[in-house]
Amino acid sequence: MSAVQPAAAPEPLMADPGPSGRFGPFGGRYVPESLVPACLELEAAFREAWDDPGFHQELDDILRVYGGRPTPVTPCRRLSAQLGVEVLLKREDLCHTGSHKLNNVVGQALLARRMGKDRLVAETGAGQHGVATATAAALFGMACTVYMGEVDVERQALNVFRMELLGAEVRPVGSGSRTLKDAVNEALRDWVATVDHTHYCLGSVMGPHPYPWMVREFQRVIGDEAREQCRTLLGGRDPDWVVACVGGGSNAAGTFAGFVHTSARLVGVEAAGGSAMGHGAPGVLHGMRSMLLQDEDGQIGEAHSVSAGLDYPGIGPEHAQLGSVGRAEYVTADDREVLEALQLLARTEGIVPALEPAHALAFVVREAGRRIPSGATVLVTLSGRGDKDVAQVRELLRGAP
């Protein structure tokens, strides 16, 4: 007998996680029994739809003629000259409703319709996912309720009004930290009681199986398009670095899905005050096993960030896997760096990004010529536009010394 054991086959990354919904040791389906049948139904509906060319055709058509896809990749000439690295932006800010959230929501609304459900519930942090869900509900003639923490209702007031204009009901959540985590709790509580006619339109690559996988698949259009576009712009090459911000991690997962099998370095940027990868431990919340901010007893910690969309104590389970096997790395940017990066992009390129993707930019600005060698090519997913944040940024800059 040989003493040398054959090496275990490497886990296939960003593949179908199968019925258990596991990404290595992360993921799963930790929901109350009342919700298990609904999750199973959703998984079956998604598998069937994702195998159905007719479904893809309809989804692609809507995203094209209604959503504005494909979104361009923009080379940043002045910013690149200043930083000494070649920055390319994947422009999800040009998607209808102003962020990547629409990609996922149109997919889920189509699935809801296939399952015969006529109401959507959603959680929202920055309000972008809420706006996207309200938009899809209007488009498909469905009822829509959006849960939003009271803190976020305050700092994203404009998005609350947008959702109401679109015909959705916004319910402020006053429990816990009154941010995204608590909005998810409340959306789940709603869903338990309404699951016979309601679909929970979860906004990121988190939650119980099949959500992390399904949402990544609905968002992979970002990465698939970007890879082609980069090859055209870079003379057939892939970018050296691919960078995206991470709240739950949907724009990052969608981006990474296009590049995971290339040699590009993948970087997810969390808010410094909400770094589940940096300061968390494995835990179970909102239906998934992943990295979570928590104390010794297992009580969930509170995230703190200027950006409502990244103010979440967890991260999608597939990111926990990509981080633990070393295929992607997860770093942070703090509030000050983020505000500076936002202004820099505005002044050099004429693009005002949302606070969330300003985290991804902040990493590039900080590390250009340091960790990111001069001359490297860097694709950054610009997940949303900054209009929603203008009033908040104005306040922050006024208060700044």
Binding site: V36, Q294, I300
Partner: protein, 261 residues
Amino acid sequence: MAPPERLGTVLAAKREAGRKLFVPYVTAGCHPAWLEVVGELAAAGADAIEVGLPFSDPMMDGPTIQEASRQALERGTTTASVLDQLARADLPVPIVVMTYFNLVHRAGEARFAGRLAAAGVRGAIVPDLPLEESGPWRDAAEQARVDPVLLVAPATPPERAKRILAVARGFVYAVGLMGVTGERQALAASATAVAERLRGRSSLPVLVGVGVSTPAQAAQVAQVADGVVVGSALVRRLLEGDDPAALGKLARAFRAALDDA
């Protein structure tokens, strides 16, 4: 000392004797006198008592138990402090804890089960741990002689219910309605329907919980179920300032309604 009888054994024997089972719930630490309340509930004729270990994100709970959990945590309640108090209390009825899986996971299944057993706890309900994910926890609990209670919901299809019943221990927790814990004006039709579907299908007692709010509703449920779990109706009064004796009185009303059912 002989080990204490298993929860399932105690409850099944009472059911065989023709008694309807009454399992009241209180969130540990939600009130300075919570342990006195447990004593009153036992004296009022509870067959077991469900003690909630507070969690920061109780997603299966409605406003009352959310608020109780918040107050408990604000007072510095921890798993260790609760188990310590229970271990010293020497209660005359079995204690079943209810908590969310992250508290179990953080400690590690085996360690958590061992800590429960050491405190004299005889069962555990973990509502966000469905059948498919429950294997390691059930094994660890079994090792420690703690009964892992499983839930069946109104939405659970019959074939799935069968698989849950096959591995359930202690009692079967039949969820009375599709929704979170909390009081309801009227008993949901699903409360009796779910018990009806499970009747005679398990050697364990079938208890209906969630939405059983009054003694009259408890009596109605007991027509088809082996008993009830009552939580928010008691906890709300405790949060509103009722003293332990007043809760004991309400518990006796539930007991009487079940005895007459």
